[in-house]
Symmetry: C2
Subunit: 107 residues, 2 copies
């Protein structure tokens, strides 16, 4: 296990959601939002998985980078669409990542 001693805190936006049974167009918009995030200053990465609940976590250098990303009109548009059309439940958490451990190994 590797622990980085000079660890620099960064931020995670955790988005969890449950889709309505009729969620046409959701996946196209999710891909568009991911592509947009990757273009923003301060973007560090993204993790995403979906079963009955969907989890997307994107990582940012700072709260300021998150605010600028949120201000992007396409993101706001997608969020509004999400509230009205796609999700029966969603939750957004803004978190400061304080410690991290990782392992990578050959298969």
């Amino acid at each position: 296990m590797k622990t980085t001693e000079d660890f620099k805190t960064y931020y995670a936006v955790i988005f969890t959601s449950t889709l309505k049974t009729n969620a046409e167009g959701y996946h196209e918009m999710a891909e568009k939002m991911e592509a947009l995030a990757k273009l923003q200053p301060g973007f560090l990465g993204i993790d995403s998985a979906r079963n009955s609940v969907g989890i997307t976590i994107c990582y940012w250098e700072s709260i300021d980078a998150i605010i600028k990303w949120k201000q992007q009109s396409e993101y706001l548009t997608a969020q509004e669409k999400g509230k009205t059309d796609w999700h029966s439940l969603y939750n957004v958490k803004i978190c400061k990542v304080e410690r991290e451990y990782s392992l990578s190994a050959l298969q």
Copy 2:
């Protein structure tokens, strides 16, 4: 969108992983670990989804609660097993949840 003004910070442990192709026994141990976490003081909830990457996030009242949970021998056993047998890649992030927004609606 609901924002809780008297929001009390809490903690999230983000666990992301990629399983090896031969990961026999993983799901049984994952269920056992989830059941164990739910019994611990300070446990607040869990979100989990898996596609090509698996994401599990568990939420805790404090860092102290996370440390006590980690000290549980079954958790440590599972982690060791995970490092050697199941995962080709895994990462653990300890985060402070600073802000939260949510929406719930009828289907």
